[in-house]
């Protein structure tokens, strides 16, 4: 993880434990072959340096620059290696960039807009369509013909 996530500037926040916890929440949801081969993949990364021309060394003892080029090499490798690398990369990046501190650092906060727009739509759905939805006021609705429509959206 420490190789895949950034640390400089706005990313200088200690969230590693939570990134790892988030990643671990995904693991039980993964398809069985991926889930079961995941620990094997991690072992391969740890001990695979000799196969990728990086000598008899373990991943964790490489410095960051060397570890980055080692991972890049794995990513350019044959299909199972590329998939392993891609899977790891995706997992770390999703978990990292969705941490609240990182979202805050990037200035992203979707939730308040959701509250505001739910209320706005509720109001619009109670208004005359030609005012609330001028572009589509004449659209034929599947539910308009049925008084008992369960979707409750006849309008």
């Amino acid at each position: 993880m420490s190789v895949l996530r950034p640390y400089e500037g706005i990313y200088d926040v200690d969230v590693d434990a939570r990134v790892l916890a988030t990643m671990l929440r995904f693991v039980p949801h993964m398809a069985a072959p991926v889930r079961l081969s995941f620990p094997l993949g991690l072992l391969l990364v740890e001990f695979g340096a000799p196969f990728f021309g990086f000598g008899m060394t373990r991943f964790r003892s490489m410095n960051r620059a060397r570890a980055i080029s080692y991972l890049e090499r794995i990513g350019r490798g044959a299909e199972p290696f590329r998939m392993l690398f891609d899977g790891l990369r995706v997992l770390v990046l999703v978990a990292f960039y969705q941490q609240p501190e990182i979202l805050a650092a990037l200035g992203v906060d979707w939730a308040p807009r959701a509250e505001e727009l739910i209320a706005r739509r509720a109001k619009l759905m109670n208004m005359e369509p030609s005012l609330a939805n001028p572009r589509n006021a004449g659209v034929a609705r599947a539910d308009a013909s049925r008084a008992d429509d369960p979707t409750g959206t006849s309008s």
Partner: protein, 523 residues
């Protein structure tokens, strides 16, 4: 989200009642074998399964829908990407299509299927594609004129609308500006929504209820008309009685997919609508011998091109894709854009570490566009060691060329819109600094291994063809040589269609269901 207070005015979708639903986790202890009877059993409640269920229920048949996922209603949706992915996506969104290059793939696993998490783009199958089906493949009544009433009806069901001006974000304006500068025609994007308000959360469930997914349309309609549904129920194997299909068997499952008790459904007609990955999986597990099952898979590979602008765009404002570009549809290329949350954007763009982090710092200045390729290569659905289906797809030469052409055109569009640099989906050519750099895309060796691809459209893995030698189902989605078994999902689509497939799937499901109703009435 605090939406429950009685005195707050709420959108109508918040009040939908889901009748006749049984939760398989509550009834499915490991020792249980639960038996059901129905006229028709439908596996899956997504774009194909839900409209077929409503159609058959309205025609007077006793319909039972089996859905592997859980029921998550509009009230429960939030903007939390992680929570929503764990709830609504299969494999929590971590699926990969194996091949060169591997393709990130996502699909829904919940009541309403992938329609709950999709972008809502609702396009008819292009006429030239329908002509190909009817003229070249000889599939009856798939020509544009015959299909028209089904598209009309699909659009009524889905409530297809255009965006109101107040929902357009800055990213949309730039996307349109770039295209217009280059003289390309821009299309208003029809979407299945009812007064969308532009929250742009479609990909993890619409919390405002505006997106008219199957969850808020055909599922509740079918249930209120008398259909029944069992959730957390994974169908695994078609049952036979003599030469005829007599039902389907499966297991109740937990949200993580772990197995609980068994169930068996006896029915006159079994309809598989589990999507283009799982439907062929069920057919294979049922020992159907047709070698075409699972082959012919199309994936609409999608490559991202990101324009970076000096001014702040704020991608969190404005709807999910109000416009598309169909200017190059004949060349098999469709352009759109989407603003997604940082985690998803980070995952679907190449690179990692500090360099990647510096790019992500520009999040509010990015317009994320994408090229969807109408693929000519064909992949396969194959069974894994755990008896679950997996996909293989390798870009063929012409698709590699199309990706490069699409990326080049999109990069040009971004510069025309005013971008000062552009990020590309190529690990070995990640960035262009000016329009003069475009030639570097042509100059680069057109290889496939370093392209970052993703897709949300799979199709054609049990496709309709005239004979069992060429395909899996006939022109009405009935499985060849297997009476009592039919398919109503993306797997029946005869070829890659080059546009977003939901409306095609809905229209084909309605059309084919009409033919099954006639069959059932005749028997």
């Amino acid at each position: 989200m605090n939406n429950g207070a009685a005195d707050i005015l709420l959108p109508p979708e918040f009040g939908i009642r889901y009748q006749n639903i049984e939760d398989g986790q509550k009834i499915g202890a490991r020792s249980v074998v639960r038996k059901y009877d129905a006229d028709v059993v439908i596996v899956g409640s997504g774009a194909g399964g839900a409209p077929a269920a409503r159609r058959l229920t309205d025609a007077g048949f006793d319909v039972l829908i089996l859905e592997e996922g859980e029921l998550h209603t509009t009230e429960s949706f939030s903007t939390d990407l992680i929570e929503q992915s764990l709830k609504l996506y299969r494999d929590a969104g971590s699926t990969m299509i194996a091949g060169r290059p591997p393709i990130i793939f996502t699909e829904g696993r919940c009541v309403g299927g992938s329609t709950v998490i999709n972008g809502g783009m609702s396009w008819r199958t292009p006429d030239r594609v329908l002509d190909h089906w009817s003229r070249d493949l000889g599939l009856n009544e798939t020509d544009p004129k015959s299909m028209e009433p089904y598209f009309d009806e699909a659009e009524r069901i889905l409530n297809v609308e255009f965006q109101n001006e107040d929902t357009l974000g800055m990213n949309d304006k730039l996307f349109v500006r770039g295209a217009k500068k280059l003289g390309w025609e821009v299309q208003d994007n029809p979407r299945n929504m009812k007064r969308c308000v532009g929250l742009n959360n479609c990909g993890i469930g619409c919390p405002t209820g505006a997106k008219q997914s199957m969850l808020v349309t055909e599922v509740p309609r079918a249930l209120s008309a008398g259909a029944r549904m069992v959730t957390s129920a994974r169908a695994t194997k078609v049952l036979f009685d003599g030469g005829r299909v007599s039902g389907i068997a499966g297991r109740f499952v937990t949200p993580l997919g772990r197995r609980l008790g068994r169930f068996e459904v006896r029915a006159r007609l079994v309809v598989l609508a589990a999507g283009a990955r799982f439907t062929p999986g069920i057919l294979k597990r049922s020992w159907l011998r047709n070698p075409n099952i699972g082959s012919g898979l199309h994936t609409h590979p999608n490559a991202k091109v990101i324009g970076v602008f000096k001014d702040r765009i704020d991608p969190t404002r404005g709807t999910h894709q109000a416009h598309q570009i169909h200017h190059f549809l004949e060349e098999g290329l469709l352009f759109g854009y989407a603003a997604v949350q940082p985690g998803l954007l980070a995952a679907t763009t190449p690179g990692f570490g500090e360099e990647h982090g510096r790019r992500m710092e520009l999040y509010h200045h990015m317009l994320t566009a994408g090229v969807l390729v109408e693929d000519t290569g064909e992949g396969k659905v194959v069974m894994g060691p755990d008896l679950q289906p997996y996909m293989r797809f390798t870009l063929d030469k012409s698709d590699v060329e199309k990706v490069h052409l699409g990326v080049r055109l999109l990069a040009e569009q971004m510069f025309a819109a005013g971008a000062y640099k552009v990020f590309l989906p190529f690990a070995e050519l990640p960035e262009l600094k000016s329009v003069d750099d475009l030639g570097r895309i042509d100059a680069r060796k057109h290889v496939r291994h370093d392209i970052e691809l993703m897709t949300v459209h799979i199709m054609s893995s049990a496709r309709m063809r005239k004979t069992a030698q060429e395909g899996v189902c006939d022109s009405a989605g009935r499985v060849h040589d297997t009476p009592g078994l039919a398919i109503a999902d993306a797997s029946v689509i005869p070829s890659s269609i080059g546009v977003n497939p939901m409306e095609t799937i809905v229209a084909l499901a309605l059309r084919n269901a009409d033919r099954w109703i006639d069959d059932l009435k005749r028997r």
